[in-house]
Symmetry: C2
Subunit: 409 residues, 2 copies
């Protein structure tokens, strides 16, 4: 008997019909002789509706109360799922994050999972029940206040629960079919990947592939829980995210991210401590810096460029301007019209010339590279925002990633 | 410094504007130097919407899960109330029934409050916070499952909390102005009562006055917590429900109830055990029998009539028919077109002739009395449903209960 954790996102439980469909899939899995734990998000637009209500009663809703409010969302979807499963004759029980023993840090709105007790989950499973657990939420054991995990939180709940329960696999049901060689909306012949390694998935997530957040991939990697990312709308297989395979894999795919802004500090005196003096206050302000590039200095000064999420652009500009003045730098430029295009694949560890090929393909199409950053299994280039689609498509073609006409589903 | 419990019902928190209005009233009370505990119901039609969703996913929603679902309603309203109060600069904290330590029986959907721990409520008050508690819900300490209290549950939460915390008063904010001498929709010159005793309120509630359920009045009576029933839409005083006063009070008011059905078992052999044989199976089936009348027997047989809520009429008919056959009774009649009209007032304990006057007034208006039942402070008559309004109005007039033109607000 295997133990399976199945996670269904907001679109998968958006209305009564879809919840009944979820129940069907859960009951099928249970009928195969598996123990099943289900993790659900809030129904469709519930979270947005609750946020609207909050903003109507308060300009800055109290974080503790905002979490109390938002956790009503999963409470509704999990109870409905349990009812729909019971309706099919399979005993079921829903548990809040707190009841499932999901202990988190105290940071409301972006708490992190510290531990999962899971006693009531195990007890429910032993009694032959399907156990439905609210995603996205937990409890701070010190204050006993309810917390939420922030973006990607329900996936993290599912994979962390799978890890703690020693599950055999974790299925993430979503509104896409799996992980593709590139965004299928941009590259029509993008190919669904049957599998990617945890490391590759981490790089793809970090490079803008929204299908699975890095935090849940990290749980999977650490506890070796295979994650199956698949569609909630049909029964076909999706993409397995798992440990390295022996499969020959040069390049997995192309990810792109248009949600960043480039900040450049010009004419920075090239002396020790300047970079720290810039990035420490940014970190203190909670600005999430992604790529950092510093050129070799000429005549004792250098330029430092970095990218931040567009939402943090104002904060990054203000802090950088202050630091620039302090250290006698030339000035600060902000450029929001950029995109990051990344090539990801474990194969590039052993294969040489991948970077050179990437740069050549881009230049052959007249696309200028403004920043470059690499990891052992990723190369990212910042290009003009208007070049994004062409860059993704030509790289996808150039590395032969597309499907060759046959349907591999 | 006084401790006040304020309870706001579903219409009082129906939307963001009304929640802001609730916050204003709470903050006013707090600014007067009081400690304030707020009990809230779910917003307006939330409960109905959740019930609709439940019926879409399951024909008979699992009771445990239905309670899990419905408790999302108060979670939303309490968090919004806390935010709106914080927005006005007063620290606030919301607590679920479980967090507030409201321990109940295990009966999902109609649990009863067994005990209230209230530790986190007290702690919040000591920290100078307004504490908002979810009405209508609690937790079964054995299973640790969330429960709901059923009809009138939020009022019961408020009064029980007031009792346990030793509050000085409990304010019940509702969509009516208070308790009237009769239903103002039926009797235009009905007068708002400045006060009624707990006993009178219990009789009025039992006789169909919907403003306050008997279970919360019973808590108030037992723990001597004065209850102020008042409008959430204006600041004027409502009705105080409290211990007996010295005020001369012959008759408080008229209540009526058109939600009952009369069941008559004809030709019942007049021997010991027959009544028990009828009412035991009714009780076992959860049928709430109200009035019971048995006439003196003639020729060894008698008729037993009783009233039950219309919702239980089918069950009552089936059970009565079975019992009638078992004991060799003549048959069973069901009559849904009845109304119960009741006169309530502590004064009738000492004053004689009240019942006679009531019967005379009704007969003078050609209204036939079909059943009579009395308590020390109440007389109830069952009349034809079509006679309801005239019965209430003529009794209201006949006992001089109406306002005399002056506005007593």
């Amino acid at each position: 008997m295997a133990l399976v954790v199945q996670k269904f996102g907001g679109t998968s439980v958006a209305d009564a019909d879809r919840i009944k469909n979820v129940a069907r899939r859960v009951v099928e899995r249970h009928a195969e002789g598996n123990q099943v734990v289900v993790v659900v998000s809030a129904m469709g637009h519930t979270t947005d509706e609750l946020l609207d209500l909050a903003s109507e009663v308060a300009t800055t809703p109290h974080p503790r109360e905002l979490d109390m409010l938002l956790t009503a969302g999963e409470r509704i979807s999990m109870a409905l799922c349990a009812m729909a499963i019971e309706e099919r004759g399979v005993p079921a029980m829903s548990l809040t994050g707190s009841q499932a023993g999901i202990l988190t840090t105290a940071q409301h709105g972006q708490a992190e999972i510290v531990d999962i007790r899971g006693d009531r989950v195990r007890k429910g499973l032993e009694e032959g029940k399907v156990v439905i657990v609210a995603g996205f939420q937990g409890v701070d054991p010190t204050s006993r206040d309810v917390t939420t995990l922030g973006r990607g939180g329900s996936d993290a709940t599912a994979v962390a629960l799978a890890a703690v329960l020693g599950a055999d696999e974790c299925e993430i049901f979503t509104d896409v079919d799996g992980v593709y060689t590139a965004d299928p909306r941009v590259v029509p012949n993008a190919r669904k990947l049957p599998e990617v390694s945890f490391e590759e998935m981490l790089e793809l997530s970090g490079a803008g592939a929204g299908v699975l957040m890095a935090r849940s991939v990290e749980f999977g990697r650490r506890y070796r829980i295979p994650i199956h990312v698949r569609s909630s709308f049909h029964d076909g297989p999706g993409t397995w995210v798992k440990e390295d395979t022996m499969e020959e894999a040069i390049i997995r795919g192309i990810a792109h991210d248009t949600d960043e802004t480039k900040v450049t500090v010009h004419g920075v005196p090239d002396k020790p401590g300047v970079a720290a003096g810039l990035f420490e206050p940014l970190a203190d302000a909670g600005v999430n810096v992604d790529m950092i590039v510093q050129n070799v200095s000429r005549e004792g000064v250098t330029d430092i460029s970095f990218t931040v999420p567009k939402a943090s652009a104002d904060a990054a500009r203000d802090i950088s301007a202050r630091v620039a003045e302090d250290v006698g730098a030339g000035g600060v430029d902000i450029d929001p019209d950029i995109a990051k295009v990344s090539l990801v694949g474990a194969g590039m560890k052993s294969e040489s010339g991948i970077a050179a090929k990437m740069f050549r393909i881009l230049s052959d199409h007249g696309i200028n590279i403004e920043m470059i950053s690499t990891s052992p299994i990723r190369i990212s280039c910042v290009v003009r925002g208007t070049d994004t689609l062409e860059a993704v498509r030509t790289l996808h073609d150039g590395f032969g990633l597309g499907s060759t006409g046959g349907d591999d589903d």
